[in-house]
Symmetry: C2
Subunit: 326 residues, 2 copies
């Protein structure tokens, strides 16, 4: 009998999914970033829940306002990756007994701030007593059928791209948790990436309009993991020849003798979009969204990267509950 530590988050999810009877005519299959229900008139109701847990998702240095805002951003990011505008959210909370009125006010304001940043509203929720801070957000939006950017449509020859650079969160966590040094300006950039994540909603909505995107996912489990998820859902591989390492991260890595590729690929808790784009529509897509080309979709189901002449496999690892030591 396996323990949940041996199973890991993915193993647990697989067991749960095997227990579920699938809804007939599910518009989005199990295991994509969001779920959907056909509500007629060519529209889908899109829903997503994501849970923030104090012990694993709220690093030292993050305020309760920031934690509550992050809980909202986490679930909005999944809608963004599918090109769906969030309309409303619910927040289900577990609150520890030692919290004060001020803690609750911070949480309330953080929830509201996160939603309003993306023009959405918190409509309600549920409050419970728990031994650790828990904020589970459910995000709701409406999408046109056939406009959703799923994980499953990438084809060999498509361009792999991202909406921004990577590695700042991984570096920021090293600053916050391991006290690694950085100049005040660099420190602020890296730490802000951890404390104030942003969902790439504008780019997601714009890209969905172009019809150029064949596969899409948010990078909350890390760049490497995200590429592997598209690979699995689309049955393709990736050859990455332009790792999107943040220049700040390169500097930080050099000072501390760290591998910038490692920080870029295996960090997680980043909320950029990782997409594959039909090459015929690349120019159109690039005009309306801040896309960085990072490589190509290939037929062979392998994932690797070239970085200044060094070629290495991209491992299927990233942030995973139970398996990632904290």
């Amino acid at each position: 009998m396996k323990s949940v530590e041996e199973l890991g988050e993915r193993g647990i999810v697989d067991i749960i999914l095997r227990s579920l009877e699938p809804m007939p005519n599910m518009p989005i299959p199990f295991g994509d970033d969001v779920s959907a229900v056909d509500v007629g008139h060519g529209k889908l109701a899109v829903i997503k829940t994501d849970m923030l847990v104090g012990r694993t998702d709220v690093p030292q240095g993050m305020s309760l306002w920031q934690a509550a805002r992050k809980a909202v951003v986490m679930s909005i990011s999944d809608l963004a990756a599918k090109g769906v505008k969030p309309i409303a959210l619910l927040a289900s909370m577990g609150v520890p007994r030692h919290f004060t009125q001020a803690s609750v006010e911070q949480i309330g304001r953080g929830l509201n701030a996160g939603a309003r940043e993306y023009d959405a509203h918190i409509l309600g929720g549920d409050t419970n007593e728990a031994s650790d801070l828990i904020i589970s957000c459910a995000a709701f939006g409406v999408a046109k059928k056939n406009r959703l950017m799923l994980r499953s449509g990438a084809k060999p020859g498509d361009i792999a791209a991202v909406t921004g650079v990577f590695g700042k969160t991984a570096a920021g966590l090293k600053v916050l948790l391991q006290n690694l040094s950085a100049s005040p300006k660099l420190r602020k950039t890296l730490v802000d990436a951890v404390l104030m994540p942003h969902a790439q909603l504008k780019d997601g909505l714009a890209l969905a309009q172009t019809g150029a995107v064949t596969g899409s996912i948010d990078s909350s489990d890390g760049l490497a993991w995200s590429l592997h998820e598209i690979s699995k859902a689309s049955k393709v591989g990736f050859l990455i020849d332009n790792l999107p390492v943040s220049s700040d991260v390169r500097k930080f890595a050099e000072v501390h003798g760290l591998d910038p590729a490692e920080l870029c690929l295996y960090g997680g808790e980043e909320y950029e979009l990782v997409v594959t784009v039909d090459p015929k529509l690349w120019t159109k897509a690039k005009r309306i969204a801040s896309l960085v080309r990072i490589g190509l979709v290939i037929e062979e189901r392998t994932l690797s990267f070239d970085e200044e002449g060094r070629r290495a496999p991209i491992e299927p690892k990233g942030w995973e509950h139970f398996k990632t030591g904290q």
Copy 2:
């Protein structure tokens, strides 16, 4: 500065709600059992989240299968109280490290069983590591506008009614947690009420069709609390002349020297519907749903009950996180 124990669950909810900017034209105001978004064509998307926490919501003797099923039933019950058919649910989970593969399988099967009992499906979710079992379900359904049974329409002269008898859960918890004795048959009835709660979906859906219901709520926080919530939302009072005490509970109370009215009013964790009905449509409503008349809605904003010549106020108390000692 108040602690959350002083604030209690209701105080916390009030602070959160004050922090939120309300969505313009909210179809359902803050604080009802569910939230909704107008999706056009005369339809509302209805959403609800409810969180089950191991320490407070899973009593000794409840299996993980039952706990997961209960998490689903809890959120379906809120849709039932509004007359909305649940279509899909998401389950966001916190799983402790000491759980095994068998625990996860039980949870998966319990989630599925809860949803399928009500002809709904689990579409997805999120798995996290947590120090206690957490299952936050988000339920989704679609309702016709103006067919929702809110808390806010009760009028003086309306008939107060419930879909079933009360007190079994409170008595069952005394059997499970305080080892109070009961015959094997009685024990099974009372304990089943705790371990296998049922949402009154059939009655809720049928009642919504009649247009007879002016106010409705589920009784998960107890009968007394539910009446107080309708009272607050509708600005009315209640005179209860027929406390719906289960006959099994009367027997149990007599043996153990307990007050059956107390068990009936202040138990909580029951999932009957508490409704107010337009007297002109009472016969119609009673024909299609299993309704028990318990009293009358009155203009004066007081709540009291008559029980065999004894008249007493109905206190605004019931299950409340932080305030209820466990």
